[in-house]
Subunit: 299 residues, 2 copies
Amino acid sequence: VARVRALGHPLCAGIDPHPERIPPLFARGSMEPDDPETVPAVEAFCLAVLDHLTGRVAVVKPQIALFEALGWRGFQALERVLDAARERELLVVLDAKRGDIASTAEGYARAYLGAGAALAVDAITLNPWLGLDSLDPFLGLARAEGRGVFVVTRSSNPGARDFQDLDAGGRPVHERVAEALAPAAAGLAAPQSGWSSLGVVVGATSPDHARRLRAILPRSLFLVPGYGAQGAGAAEAVAGFVPGPGGRLEGGIVNASRSILFPTDADTDDVARWDDAVEAALDRAIDELSGAVAGGAGA
Amino acid sequence: VARVRALGHPLCAGIDPHPERIPPLFARGSMEPDDPETVPAVEAFCLAVLDHLTGRVAVVKPQIALFEALGWRGFQALERVLDAARERELLVVLDAKRGDIASTAEGYARAYLGAGAALAVDAITLNPWLGLDSLDPFLGLARAEGRGVFVVTRSSNPGARDFQDLDAGGRPVHERVAEALAPAAAGLAAPQSGWSSLGVVVGATSPDHARRLRAILPRSLFLVPGYGAQGAGAAEAVAGFVPGPGGRLEGGIVNASRSILFPTDADTDDVARWDDAVEAALDRAIDELSGAVAGGAGA
């Protein structure tokens, strides 16, 4: 929250290194997932992107699936990308959407939120389908280690309607999830900023849902996917935000992945052109979101 | 299905190598997750367990979280455990409970069900919370590559009640999930056995739910956790099964993890004693489940 306030915008950069989209500047070998050459190419691309992000965004969000798809070498690359983010003083939300029964959840929680874990991150995304007991080990470590979680409550994809939006007693299931999370979220609110280390994922593609979820979870940070490539604008992305100190809207981070990592004019082997394209995409997203939170057009 | 019929029982052995439970016979170093010595110990333990399982069960179910918690070296160990299972002609269901938006799901699907992937398995468990579009890439590969999926529909943990059992229009949400899966499950039914490569996870701890889910998904194999250490008996575990050729109940696999991997008298550094303890635990589970499917006491 402090870093977002200092920067004046809530942009979070998603690190989703789809191998087939990585520009010729970084590509090596076939760029197929099972080609060992793909891993150093993905890693070099991620590090170059992190250089552009340093000092300009508060948070980055690596998508673990894209590293996992490269096998154990991909995990090794993720470890180095996390180290690089830490060196650059970027906070990391690992997009893992994990969710399992308690004894298994303990293992995941220690791996990602435990003190000294190789893949330790500042926060992780979780899937609530298995219930509150599947979240508990993460909440315990979030409190003990000063980390955070974002529970996928209302995602940004079309399939979010299938089960998250089912009517359960006059309210969609995703609101029932938010209600169930509310006591723990209140218990994890920080005395200083007022914001909780139990946040939720709420897609930019459904601003009405975001406003209702804000009423249920007044102290939870929203991690907002769906802005940019997935079609939602900056005003929709901050629909669940509320006025903070100075009147600027706050209460979450807005993720952009493809629009920053792979702008249309960045598919090049010219480093200067690539730098310019990524920088321009970053400027555009920061301008839009700065405007949206300054305009006060949110909740 | 053919292997389960030949063996006469539906036991699936869960490979959940919790480091702190691994007996002194295999332990090395501190057995903390961040100690590199832990990985070879976990791997040796898993391979020794696979030796006991060879020819006695049709399927093993490694829990990816326990490998993932060991970092990239854990993934490397998992790769070798999967190779070892293939060599021993054991089918593998990877318990990963993945679920993400379509572009990310593509990456996961290729990593685990794709032809030639290092971590390729026969089937994977999936989390349906993000909707049908999050499952599609897996279903496409299941059809193209002759693999399978098990969608977590009603889990075995207490938290299953929190959201899976919410009333959504007179039926619990988990039945709505099953109804949404039904067309795809029917489309993926094999001409020969009649069973579908779209299965569901249905906990042994709620046999009534299993019977209703069987009515909704007549051709889906059930992956049944919760038998043994989690408290459900063999008769409850096969509640959703139906009579197959010869009258024996069939229609899924029943997982036991802790009761086979860590029987009470296996916490030893004596190899003969450990062998006997694991063999006895395996005999017991096989006897119970053989009896339950022969007795015809299911759905």
